[in-house]
């Protein structure tokens, strides 16, 4: 149960353009809990050490089979137009090809598309060319109208993915192999977020959408073989796959094991081949176990502590700064998460900065973050006139590192003469509580968000005033044009302009601390040693990727 919140890890990452789903805040992908290796002083292994070079098998004519354990029950929606959870999408991403896809550095590459699109009208119109001769599993050819349908269906059908495609005014095929997509306004994140749309066959899908959802047909390397609701999904290699290379794996079976301890037990005991998400609590044990390897990758996940700026003591920026000084985030992350996460100093995870080529001043921001300084914290609180018996209520998803962090903050506050009322909540309750702005409900809350290579996902949803009471509960008013900057950056296609706006916004966040960035959890898998050439992908829903231009997973019997 340490990983309860995984049950709500609904939103598939990297498709979060304008999504305003509070469920998204679950955003949790990585493990949780505490680290085994003790002292905060210890050198913590970098996640890059857990990327293993793949080898090629001697015999290339293979039909291996693989069992993959998911860390949560999928919603079992396998139609990407509808599917709204990472774990259904892990299956769907093997069945469907995207128009574009992200590589393991989260950089966008054309897949079905033939090269990058032509951008016109200052980013209001995009012309896509697609490759010829791509077939769906039923033998129909994939054409531009299928791509157009994939772009527009979520909005037309008001599925939960609608927000991602809401800015699209129209998507019209020009001919069988090219189409024009028109936006309502220039939309910065379009390139990096929206274009990675999985392409569905329009005819088959519209004929019987419900059947399609549980027996989907795509153009990807694997096709649906068997689906037992609540039990497992089995995919089999599509022998006529259009792209190179042909996977070595013949069958993949997806099952879920939400209990961390049990999932780890299964891979340690050799009852399964790969598990998704190595809990930080068991990291060393899994890492040290014979016959098991951890595969990890940085991810665009972002965990944070938010303050209630609407009511109560935390409306005073000095009180927020005091809390930030009262404990050591670095110590907590090293101790509890170890190699499973990196501390953050801005709302943007490292991988987002790098993959989008933003080159934000991450080092400078790190310098500016409040450091552990209990004396200063005490002083600030006294000056701010906080009552001596102040015990702010901190709410967090129960069980797992965020609750542990809340406890840690509480315990540190008590050391400087205050206290905290820590409430671990089930996720369902938490989403009903964290955005009321009511001081009786919370003075601080701990949540997370998973975005992608575009910063808008973080800034707009988590800071813009239009999202107050929806995806955010801090109600930060901002100095000057804080909110305008976020919106302007969103509705611009000029990356330099956007970068400057985001730097301003971030610096204000670091100064006024409506939110204290916490850490970014990595994407991890643990696989039996026999599983060769399997790479963790930064996007949860791309795991296990199995086959791509940089990997082709196989089993070394």
């Amino acid at each position: 149960m340490a990983n309860n919140q995984n049950l709500w890890a609904r939103r598939r990452i990297l498709a979060t353009g304008g999504a305003v789903s509070a469920a998204t805040i679950a955003g949790c992908i990585g493990g949780n809990g505490d680290d085994d290796n003790g002292n905060g002083d210890d050198e913590v292994a970098d996640i890059s050490e857990y990327q293993h070079d793949g080898e090629e098998p001697d015999d290339q004519d293979r039909s291996d089979s693989l069992e993959f354990l998911q860390p949560a029950d999928p919603d079992e929606d396998y139609d990407p137009v509808i599917s709204f959870d990472s774990y259904s999408m892990q299956v769907a991403n093997l069945v469907f090809d995207g128009l574009y896809e992200w590589d393991d550095e989260l950089e966008l590459e054309p897949k079905i598309a033939d090269g990058m699109p032509d951008e016109e009208d200052d980013g209001e119109t995009y012309i896509f060319d697609i490759q010829e001769g791509i077939e769906f599993h039923n033998g129909d050819e994939l054409t531009a109208s299928d791509v157009a349908h994939s772009f527009t269906a979520p909005v037309e059908e008001e599925t939960q993915n609608a927000a991602t495609y809401a800015m699209i005014e129209s998507a019209e095929p020009i001919d069988d192999y090219s189409l024009e997509v028109t936006l309502e306004h220039p939309y910065g994140p379009f390139t990096m977020s929206t274009m990675a749309v999985p392409v569905v066959p329009e005819d088959v899908r519209t004929e019987d959408p419900e059947a399609f959802n549980t027996d989907p047909i795509g153009s990807g390397p694997f096709q649906f073989a068997e689906f037992q609701p609540g039990e497992y999904v089995e995919l089999e290699r599509w022998e006529d796959y259009w792209d190179e290379p042909m996977p070595y794996i013949q069958d993949i079976r997806f099952e879920a094991a939400p209990d961390d301890a049990n999932r780890v037990a299964q891979v340690l005991a050799g009852d399964t081949d790969v598990i998704d998400t190595v809990p930080a609590t068991e990291w060393d044990e899994v890492d040290g176990a014979d016959g098991v390897r951890i595969h990890g990758s940085r991810s665009p996940s972002y965990m944070y502590l938010a303050f209630n700026c609407n009511e109560g003591e935390t409306t005073d920026p000095d009180v927020r700064r005091a809390v930030a000084h009262s404990f050591s985030m670095q110590e907590f992350v090293n101790e509890h998460l170890g190699p499973a996460a990196d501390p953050l100093s801005s709302p943007i995870p490292e991988v987002t900065d790098e993959s989008g080529g933003w080159e934000f001043p991450m080092d400078e921001w790190e310098e500016e973050m409040p450091e552990y300084d209990p004396d200063q914290a005490q002083e600030l609180l006294e000056e701010a006139g906080v009552p001596d018996d102040w015990e702010p209520r901190i709410i967090a998803p129960e069980g797992g590192p965020r609750e542990a962090l809340a406890e840690r903050i509480g315990s540190r506050l008590s050391e400087i003469g205050y206290g905290a009322d820590v409430q671990g909540m089930s996720f369902a309750t938490l989403v009903d509580t964290y955005n009321t702005g009511n001081v009786d409900d919370y003075e601080m809350y701990l949540l997370g968000w998973t975005g992608g290579p575009d910063p808008d996902v973080y800034y707009y949803n988590l800071f813009h005033e239009s999202q107050e009471g929806v995806g955010q509960g801090h109600f930060y008013e901002g100095q000057g044009d804080f909110h305008d900057n976020i919106l302007n950056a969103r509705e611009s296609a000029d990356q330099d302009e956007r970068r400057d706006l985001y730097v301003d916004v971030t610096e204000e966040i670091i100064e006024y601390l409506p939110v204290l960035p916490a850490y970014s959890e990595h994407n991890t898998m643990a696989a039996r040693e026999e599983v060769e050439d399997i790479h963790a992908h930064p996007s949860v829903s791309y795991n296990p990727r199995i086959v791509s231009d940089y990997q082709n997973t196989w089993i070394d019997e």
């Binding site: 509070a22 037990a265 299964q266 005991a269 009852d271």
Partner: protein, 332 residues
């Protein structure tokens, strides 16, 4: 009254209890503070129109008693409502998950009965012997140890350390062997047993220990019965006395306890299914609770209570069948 009539009578008698359960779960589900729609939508952005639509869809805009009557009307037709979180009918969800739970609970019972009865009898026969002492201590451990903890320890020892048995899940005997890549029914059954063994022991230990203690006490008492003296005085061999004369009488309370303990076993299934990652009703219940999936929680509670009630009725009938003194039809 015949056994058939008695059976019918007992089932009819259970109807008020089942209605009571539905009322109770309905009340509990509506005790929750907070707005049910918000909980249902889990904080997704919803427009007032959408809220109204959801309210209308679930009848949340109508008074409690009307909604209850609706729910009951559905229940009678086998419609237990709709799981908002999973967007599937509750009845379907339960139907797909009830099998593993039944398999688990029944096998735990089989394990408990097969072990506890002979052990209890031997302990009673060899009262105050070392065998008796050892088995009493084992039973004491059994009734004092949390089942889920036993489960955890079993996984660590037999699955992770020794690698003898699987650490999770079940193999369903009702699925075809090909589903699992088994070569035939024999292998299929062996695998079913292998998967079942640890969770069965974890869940069954408490039952085993409880039944063993009862069996021992009952056998001791039964062996002191006058009818045993009579049988001995007429030269009936000890074995026959043990297996027939004393045993049959001693089983009566066991039957009752087996029925009542179903309650513990069904509750324990939640824990065991959790620990062993078994896709049964228990785990579904746990997840429904975490997700505050109202209709699903109500549905599962109803079904589990119904299973218990039916279990008790079955044991009552068995009791009536074995004990000629029960005059069918008299309520107790």
């Amino acid at each position: 009254m015949g056994l058939l009539r008695y059976t019918t009578y007992r089932f009819i008698q259970a109807i008020p209890v089942l209605i009571g359960i539905s009322i109770l779960t309905f009340i509990l589900a509506n005790l929750t503070p907070g707005d049910p729609v918000r909980l249902m939508t889990q904080g997704q952005e919803v427009t007032p129109e959408q809220i109204e639509r959801i309210e209308a869809q679930y009848g949340l805009d109508r008074p409690l008693h009307e909604r209850y009557l609706d729910y009951m009307a559905g229940l009678v037709q086998g419609d237990m409502g709709h799981s908002f979180h999973r967007n599937r009918p509750v009845t379907d969800l339960i139907a797909s998950r009830i099998g593993p739970t039944l398999l688990l609970v029944l096998s735990a019972y089989a394990f408990a009965l097969v072990t506890s009865i002979p052990l209890g009898i031997i302990a009673a026969k060899r009262r105050n012997d070392p065998f008796d002492h050892v088995s009493r201590i084992v039973a004491l451990f059994g009734v004092s140890t949390p089942s889920f903890w036993i489960g955890i320890m079993l996984i660590l020892i037999f699955a992770v350390q020794l690698g003898w048995l699987p650490s999770a899940g079940l193999v369903y005997p009702w699925w075809s062997p090909e589903t699992y890549g088994h070569s035939g029914y024999f292998e299929h059954l062996i695998e079913t047993m292998r998967y079942l063994l640890l969770p069965m022991i974890a869940l069954g230990t408490l039952q085993m220990a409880t039944l063993m203690r009862v069996e021992r006490t009952q056998m001791i008492e039964s062996l002191q019965g006058e009818y045993v003296k009579l049988a001995r005085a007429y030269g009936v061999p000890e074995r026959t006395i043990l297996r027939k004369h004393a045993f049959q009488v001693a089983q009566l309370p066991i039957i009752t306890i087996v029925g009542l303990n179903l309650s513990t076993a069904l509750g324990g299934a939640v824990l065991i299914e959790f620990v062993f990652n078994i896709n049964g009703l228990g785990r579904l219940f746990y997840e429904a609770i975490i997700q505050l999936d109202y209709q699903l929680i109500m549905g599962i509670t109803m079904i589990i209570a119904t299973m218990f009630v039916i279990g008790v009725i079955i044991t009552d009938i068995a009791y009536a069948y074995i004990d000629p003194r029960v005059t069918y039809g008299e309520s107790e």
